[in-house]
């Protein structure tokens, strides 16, 4: 099923012209998209029968979504409807009928999106090869990741020594899991206040692998991200297996407060589950953010800067325009420790700017708030990726970049910490008492080490410590940030975090799961 952006643009234009002719329609927006998510899910186990590549699969959809503002004798109503698998005028009519049937009077609706004055800066950035992946290629990329890990395991003298022979290493319980995912997204949008029909086409390929030497409770991660098929290698599998081998011999650490260097995955996880939701306009509207009333005020260490940038060339989450037809771009969220802006779509920005409680919620007047509420993040991301025609825009991050004012190398940061922990992968990070409270908890599941006398001296045994802390405390106790950032993925997240490593003082850890030591 290949539908070109030209076909999508034609469908959007045709539907929009039809909507303009309807006497009861005041404003309208047509969003047409075609998405495919091709995914090879990997499951190799040396000690349990397995398939290696467990699920070579895909999910595809295309269709048209219409948002329309209807004139009524009382006041305007707004409705949304969609129709799958039909880009003809008939499909548009069906979507419109649903929008009309469901239209409601929303007192907080002000208008459909209007140009912000910012120019579009990103176009023609996708890889055509990723738009035409054959079934065989889909399977091959999965096996490429698996064999990268298996080659690394086979070549490991450490594993052979532990097992007694190369032939016996399978008894160590080697696991390779994860996936390689290819996303193909094409959209076209026409809207009352926008200039003509706009199109956007994006592709990406990403691999996320976890490897284990399970008999030694050793886990490692590897991932690769990119926008081009010919750039995809076995890197994720090789890194995951290498890191699992490095994790052998893990030790427990005692409960207490530690200086912790959070690796890239934990930085991405903390942002995804705590910081980004706290920086979203709707969290301010509903009074559920720990940053309530703090726009323009310090919320983090002055060395921390966090921004979202959807128009960064070559970055994995980049898009040319939002799913509202507005240009993507850079939105500063935290700048030198000060809360600087929010992730928002058009609707959320407008209703917050018109909210009588704006000053209480954001901490500034409307004039100052407007620059912090630029609608650069109105996306219609479906679960598992894709820009879905059948949902209205939400506010989602794209590429989130984390930077330090005094960036150091990883070795310098470890040396500066001197005694503490390096935490490379965390899991199940939730705001355990609600987002406003900021309390969070998670467990340390791999890629982690003890720092002693300025060096990584031993791995931390996976699944033996739980972090119990508060995100506002963590943000204000940053002791250092490394210079190099890498595109980092978190399970089920929309955005890609270009994350460095960040040192934080006084992080509270609780030792857990002592009973596991004598279990088997």
């Amino acid at each position: 099923m290949t539908i070109t952006t030209a076909e999508l643009a034609k469908a959007a234009g045709q539907a929009f012209e039809f909507l303009k002719q309807q006497p009861d329609i005041q404003e309208a927006e047509v969003f047409v998209s075609s998405n495919a998510s091709l995914l090879t899910r990997i499951n190799y186990t040396s000690h349990i029968p397995s398939n290696g590549v467990e699920e070579p699969k895909s999910a595809e959809s295309y269709g048209i979504g219409i948002q329309a503002v209807f004139k009524t004798p009382q006041s305007a109503t707004i409705g949304f409807g969609s129709e799958p698998s039909d880009l003809t005028l008939e499909g548009a009519k069906r979507a419109l009928a649903k929008a009309r049937q469901g239209a409601v009077r929303d007192p907080e609706f002000h208008s459909l999106p209007k140009p912000t004055g910012e120019p579009r800066t990103l176009a023609g950035y996708h890889d055509p090869k990723l738009l035409h992946v054959r079934d065989e290629e889909l399977v091959e990329v999965g096996w490429k990741a698996v064999t990268g890990a298996l080659r690394t395991f086979m070549a490991s003298s450490r594993l052979a020594d532990l097992a007694g022979s190369e032939a016996a290493i399978k008894r160590l319980g080697l696991i390779v899991g994860g996936d390689v995912t290819i996303l193909q997204e094409r959209v076209a949008i026409a809207s009352t206040h926008m200039p003509g029909v706009q199109t956007d086409e994006s592709t990406l390929i990403m691999g996320f692998l976890t490897a284990m030497v399970e008999a030694k409770d050793a886990k490692g991660s590897g991932w690769s991200t990119g926008t081009r098929l010919d750039h995809f290698t076995d890197e994720a599998g090789v890194d995951a297996a290498t890191n699992a081998i490095h994790a052998i011999g893990g030790e427990r650490v005692r409960s207490g407060d530690y200086t912790v260097i959070f690796g890239r995955q934990p930085v991405a996880d903390l942002l995804n589950n705590l910081v980004l939701p706290a920086c979203t306009a709707s969290a301010f509207y509903s009074s559920s953010t720990p940053f309530l009333g703090k726009l323009g005020k310090p919320v983090a260490s002055p060395i921390l800067t966090v921004y979202d940038h959807g128009a960064m060339p070559g970055y994995m989450g980049s898009k040319g325009v939002t799913c509202e037809g507005l240009p993507t771009g850079r939105t500063d969220l935290i700048k030198n420790g000060v809360l600087a802006g929010c992730l928002t779509n058009w609707y959320e920005a407008e209703r917050l700017l018109h909210d009588p409680k704006l000053t209480e919620k954001l901490g500034v007047e409307a004039a100052a708030a407007r620059s912090a509420l630029r609608p650069r993040n109105g996306f219609r991301f479906g679960v598992g990726g894709g820009r879905q025609f059948d949902c209205q825009p939400g506010a989602s991050a794209s590429n989130v970049v984390v930077e330090g004012a005094e960036s150091v190398s990883p070795d310098e940061l470890i040396s500066r910490v001197r005694n503490g922990l390096y935490v490379g992968r965390i899991w199940y990070t939730y705001p355990i008492n609600g987002l406003r409270a900021g309390d969070f908890t998670c467990t340390v599941v791999g890629d982690s080490f003890i720092i002693r006398d300025g060096k990584l001296v031993a791995p931390i045994k996976a699944n033996t410590i739980r972090i119990n802390d508060n995100v506002t405390r963590v943000l204000t106790h940053i002791a250092g940030i490394t210079k190099e950032v890498k595109g980092t993925l978190v399970w089920a997240a929309d955005e890609v975090v270009y994350a460095p490593e960040i040192a934080v003082t006084g992080v509270h850890m609780d030792e857990i799961a002592g009973f596991m030591e004598g279990l088997h």
Binding site: R41, T45, S46, H47, I48, S50, N51, G52, P56, K57, S58, A59, E60, S61, G63, G79, P84, S85, R94, K98, G102, V104, D106, D135, T147, A167, K170, G173, I175, G177, G178, D179, M212, S288, L292, G384, Q392, Y428, T429, Y430, I432, N433, G434, L435, G438, T441, V445, R466, N468, N470, R473, W491, A492, G506, D510, I512, A513, F515, L519, H520
Partner: protein, 527 residues
Amino acid sequence: MPSKITTDLIDGIKEMVQTLATAHARSLAHLRYADLRIEVAEGKAATAENGASKFSGEDYGFSFGVRVLAGERMVAPGYFGRSLGAADLAELEKILKDGLKAAYRRAMANGELKATVREKFGSLGDSLMDTRLHPIAVRQEVVPAEYQIDPRNVGLAEMVSYTTDVSKQVAAVHAQLKYNFISTMTQLSRELFASSEGALIDQAFALTQGMCYVVAVADATSQELYDALGHQRGWEILEHGVNEPLIQFPTFIEFARGLAREAVDLANAPALPGTDGEVVVVTDPHYNTLVSHEIIGHPVELDRVLKMETAYAGRSWLLRNLDEHQVGRQVASPLVTAYSDPSLPGYGHYKYDHEGTPAKRVMHIEKGIFKGFMNSRQTAAIFGGDPNGHWKATDSSLVPLIRMSNTVFDRGDRDPREIIGEVEHGYYLVGHRIPSIAESRENFRISARKVYEIRSGQLGQLYRDGGIMADTRDYLMKVDAVGSDFRLYPIPNCGKGQPMQTKKLGNGGPTMRSRARLTGPVVGRLD
């Protein structure tokens, strides 16, 4: 062929789908097995915020998915899924055939590469095996939905009015309620399953849900609470509530107003001080719903147990390898029995899973002894035991995973008032809130909506932002009382899989008593 998508569509395509899954699929040279799943849903939804309507819609869902096991040198799986629309009806047979071919091509390529890797990687290739499915009874059956008010006959305008009114009534509960979001939905869906083995199963489900999210603010404290009232029934459950032996709800308006009152009470309550050591904790059925979900249900999913979720949802502490596991060992107090049962009512009810396996109760813990796992045909073929029917997908276009049906702690024989009354000093946790569970489910921290101090058998001070943290086995082993007040509740949003599938399922339990560390806010450490 009809031009409109309704659940009645299934009647018109059943024969064609069966022929595709049998005669056509079997004509593919190296195909060993195939199944097709088609789902049609007719649903309506409405939302409101702070007393104002925000959205309403009436629409259909239509999708299909294919699984093929095939291969020349080795047998491997391949899948294909797609959403469909009214415009696809005219060419539906061709679309399904093309999907079957794509899944077959993927399985063939997968089988070939599996054989190559198996040859190339010596002993590490030994574990790469042909994909096998455990045999099941092949059935052909039609299973109707159960409801009083047909979701198709509920007027959308009526839903908008009702939902907005609930939101207004919630907002009116107290001035400290700064935000509320209310959603309602009602739908009828029909799932058709056909396999190359000859299965043809047509199941219909009604589902209705009301969801309430509230934020109460008192000074610098916000209490964000949400909860869902839901059942596999019609619109009647929102207007009249549910009064069944295992499921009880008030009307949705009372449900939502109750949650709002609770949020206000909590916003004005002190935060629970955490403890370094264990204390006596009594947990109510709603709290134990999430406990049963997180520390019983998830670790007994056999795909997770066999390491297939290592990169995502994690593994299970209950199995190291096929020779080292907890089956037959004591993992809980003799008072604890837990099982999954698709025959119970509620969100976890169904007769057949998504590979046509007749679903049945599977015992996980019987009087403290671990007994077994939820499984699928593929995992049963690896681990042993009969398939018990827990392979489920959120949508036909997605590949099923092992999911809970109704996973619960069984009832005991104690009066819950006595369980509290016997406590000299302890804490009573009421209602679940937010979980965080260790990777192999060996440790958990779950916050409660409300925590009361118990002194001399009486409930005292109410606390906010509290919960418990414990190692799973230790907590289960220390259970010393189990109540007779068993309840089932809906879990509307369980996430698992890649891409993430969010699924509705059922959990529950009675009042229970054990020991655990109390957790509270980190406020004492903020500076």
